[in-house]
Each structure stands twice: as C-alpha cells, then as structure tokens.
C-alpha cells in the first residue's frame, strides 16, 4: 500500500484583502492506493474548499499538499493531469459529443498536439468503458443517456485518464437508491481491481459507512480520518449535525430521527 496524496499541517480557507477566513486547520490526511475514501460533512462546512485545495485549484493558507511526495502546487498542468483526475458536479455544456468521444477526451494528457488517439489510447478507453460497463452506450450522445449512466461515463473518462488518484465531487447527488448503491459498488470494485485511490464527497452517509474503506468527517470543531467502524466506536458521527432531533444509532450504523 502506497501513499498517493498526503496533507501536512494543512490549513484551508479564503484570503481576501480585509480578512483571512480559516475553514479548517492542521489537517494531516493521507490517501492510500486501493482505498475507497468518502468525505462527509454538513452543507457549507467546507468540503468543496478541501477538495479544491487538495486538487491544487486553490492555494492552501498554510501547510502543504503532497502528491507522490511532491508539492501539488509545483506540478505543471500536464503532469498533474497524469496523476489526478476529477469527476465534477457541474452540468456539461451543450455539445454533440458521443459517449466514446467523451471518454476518449480523458486521454488528452497523453495525445499529440491535435489529439490523435493511438491504438494504446483506444485500448485504455475501451478498458475504462468495460470496467464501468457502458460499452453498449458508446455511440449514444451524452445528452441521450440517463443521469446514472452519465455519471458512469464521467467515471470512465476519469479512468481513461489513467491516474493513481480519482476525486469525485458528490457523484450520487441526482441518483435514486438503486443507482446510488450500484455507483458505490462500482467505485469499490474499481479500487480493488485497479489499486487506484478514490476519494469522493457525499451526503449518503449510511451507504458510505457500509462501503467505504475509510472516511473523512468534517465538523466545525475537527476533521478526522479513519475506518468507519473506528469512527462509530469513537462517536465521531454524533457531532456531525447540530440538531437534537437527528441522532446517530451506533448499533445500526445509521442516523435516526426522533
């Protein structure tokens, strides 16, 4: 097992001319290969800020983010794209892209100036589509398929990018329970079969507890990373929501409403 990304005394937040807003301090997280790691926390707690900082989009207030033992802010865009791929929540702009073309765009960090796909590129694209079981959609347009299928296509694109680390921002947001579960299972299968590390943020805490190898919990007071069962026995989930009517049932491993 190898550490792919780690944070060292990382502080995240926003700096403006007037003031510095610190969202979280002294984060020492480590993302290891072959692990499915979920990031949970209430709305507005700073999950997106954390993801933006560890993907190098936003500068940390202090501390470092190390990707393969090298500071993430010193990567050039192309090297970074070969080590880290993203699945975002934003809606795709209108276009006529087919599913195959969309997945193939993941090969951009490796293709020549005009983007020609070599036979190796095509092989990687086909592997990614096979792993996510979307081969039958290859010639469909990206706007013709369902939300659940599109999410798989976007994951296939990230797989085609062939990076040791994939980060997904709320991949299950628009999906029903069936598709949420199948997506989580897919992510789990990918970490096991490819030894990649996959980090995703989510609000589906019950499912995340059951399927993740590790979880990162963000609350206003602390940020903690551990295996789900340890987090339950430590009682970390009780402080997640500041509401007396939402209680964590440690035995069932889920939240209940009183």
């Amino acid at each position: 097992m190898k550490t792919i990304l780690s944070t060292i005394n990382l502080s995240i937040g926003y700096k403006s001319k007037k003031a510095t807003v610190t969202i979280a301090e002294n984060l020492n997280l480590s993302l290891n290969s072959g692990k499915l790691i979920s990031l949970i926390g209430a709305n507005g707690i700073g999950k997106s800020t954390l993801l933006r900082t560890i993907t190098g989009i936003q500068q940390p207030l202090s501390g470092k983010v190390l990707l393969n033992d090298k500071n993430i802010n010193s990567y050039n865009p192309l090297d970074l794209a070969q080590n880290l791929s993203l699945v975002l929540t934003e809606k795709l702009p209108p276009s006529n892209l087919s599913v195959f073309e969309l997945v193939a765009l993941g090969r951009q960090p490796y293709t020549n100036w005009i983007g020609t796909l070599t036979s190796e590129d095509i092989k990687k694209v086909q592997e990614a589509m096979a792993l996510t079981q979307i081969e039958h959609l290859a010639q469909k347009r990206h706007f013709e398929i369902s939300d659940g299928q599109l999410q798989k296509v976007l994951i296939a694109r990230a797989l085609a990018q062939d990076t040791p680390l994939i980060i997904l921002d709320e991949p299950t947001t628009h999906l029903d329970l069936l598709h949420k579960v199948s997506l989580f299972k897919l992510l789990k299968k990918l970490t096991q079969e490819t030894q990649k590390c996959i980090l995703f943020s989510t609000h589906d805490i019950d499912l995340a507890i059951q399927l993740s190898d590790e979880m990162i919990i963000m609350t206003p007071e602390f940020v903690v990373q551990d295996e789900p069962c340890n987090l339950i026995s430590k009682g970390s989930f009780e402080t997640l929501f500041k509401d007396e009517h939402i209680i964590f049932d440690a035995e069932k491993g889920k939240f209940v409403i009183t």
């Binding site: 970074l80 975002l88 209108p94 276009s95 006529n96 892209l97 951009q108 005009i114 990018q161």
Partner: protein, 342 residues
Amino acid sequence: MANKKRNTILFIVLGLGLLLMFFASLSLGSVNIPFRDVYESLTGGQASKSTWEYIIINYRLPKSFTAVLVGTGLSISGLLMQTLFRNPLAGPYVLGLSSGASLGVAFVILGAGFLPSFLSAFVLSSYGIVIASTFGSTMVLLLVLIVSQRLRDTMAILIVGLMFGSFTTAIVSVLTYFSTAEQLQKFTFWSMGSLGNLSWTTLSILAVCVGIGLLLSASSIKPLNALLLGENYAKSMGLSFKKARLIIIFATSILAGSITAFAGPIAFIGLAVPHIAKLTFQTSNHTILFWSTLFFGAIIMLFCDIVSQMPGFDVTLPINAITSLIGAPVVIWLLVRKRNFQ
C-alpha cells in the same frame, strides 16, 4: 466505422462543391463567361474575347479569392467563439466584434481629418485600416470576455454584444456630424460590405492575416475539444486554460478584424456556417468541424457573392444584405427544428 466512411464521402462532395462554386463565381456576373473560356484564361490559354480574360484575371479572380478568405475566416471565428463561450448563438457579428471593427474604422476614416497630414496618410492606408479594425474587434472581445466572467448567464453576453452594436452606431453617428461628405461616403460604402474592392496587393495582406488566424485556430483544435466539457474539466485534463483562451481570442480577433477591415461588416456567416457544419457532420469533434466549417464557409460565401452579382443584370447588391437574407432564416430554422440546440 460507418461514420468515417460517411465523413469521407461528405468531404469529397464538399470539395467538388467548392470547385464548382469557385468556377461558377468566375463565370457568372454582369457578363456571363462560358466555363470553357474561364478555364482557358486561368490556364494561360486564349479566351474567345480578350476582355473576358481581363475581367477574370483582374476582377473576378481576386473577388472569388476574397470570398473564400472571408467565408472561411468568419466561419472559423464563429466556431471558436461558440465553443469558447459555450453558446450556440455566439458569432463575430452577434457578439459585437464587427461593430468594434466598424468603430475602429469609423475613427480612422471619419477622424483622419483631425490628424496631421503625414499621419492621416498612414492611417488611411490598408495597413492603418486593418490595424484599427483588428484593434476595435479585440477590444470588444476582451470586454465581452470580462463581462462573461462576471455573468455566468450566456444570454447576458449576447445582450452585451447587442449593446455594443448600438453603442457603435451612436458613436459613428456622432462622428458623422464632424466629417466631410467625401469621408462619409467612403465610410458608408465600406459599411455595406463588398468583396470586389480588393486589388491583388490588398488581397495578399488579407490572405496573410486570415492565414495566421486559421493556423492559430488549427493549433487550438485539441483545447477546443477539451473545452466541450467546460473550463474545469479542461483544466483537469492538463489544459493551460489562460494560454489557450488567449490564442483563441487572438485568432478570432485577427480573423474578424482583418476581414471586416477589407470587406466591411458581414453578418450571419460566422453564426450560421458552424451550425450547418455541425448538423451535416453530426459531431462536436473540432478536428472534423474545423475542416467542414472551412469548406462550408467558402462555398456559402461564394454562393452569396454569385447572388449579389445578379447574373445577367448590371447591378450589384450589397453582400451584407445577401448574407443576412440567407443567414437569418437559417438560424431561425435551426432554432425551431432542433430543440436540443447544440
């Protein structure tokens, strides 16, 4: 793959269409010259009448080349803008680039009187007009870009473009109060658009400008494909977004600016042609779209030129009117026909 075969056939058809249109534009006009004589004068042989040879070499050939350059340049600049702004309705005319270029030219033609004579001679030369026009269109594009970063709403960007159009018209009408009848006439003729006023020398300047613009566009094919997934995905796939955007903007400005300088503001080609290419080839892949837009741009511009010459008549209609007459309905038809307007 079936798509590949279909594309090859389409490109062959387009290539033949372009050749046919090019010959037709040489042959048709106030004087109709038979194809055989066109061929003879082009290959250095003897045409049946020596005046025909003169008309073809010194008048129609430069005009047809201009039409090809204008058609390809404007269409490609439209394609670049539609992808960059993620907006199917973007184009050099709609976003006010042509207006910006007009403003630059208006300042030069109408304002030259205020300058010392040696300066006014320079600014009124072809180079001066090209520089003013490119400068004007770049300024507008930069402003649109600044606005588009503040407003995520794409409709707002189009409205800003329209506002620039009105703004330019207003400034031009203010300028006309301070200009002579001769200057005013020059500007009015310029603003109606014309493909026929270029000598071989000015044509070569235009060709260099359009050539640079097209080369830069070709080098942006891969970034443009990445941008189909939006700015953030493009960055995550290793694209240096700022650099790519700068190249795309510069290419668009030099294309729209230089063409507007020489041929006047020409409407709708930049907006309509990329859509015709997208619909015909059913793809968003810019490797294919780039070439198909080039072909369609040249063919449609040559066609508009033939129509504006009114074969068999003595009058020439302003080219801008023809492109609007053809382009505007095409855009409406596209909007109505295709609900998922890509």
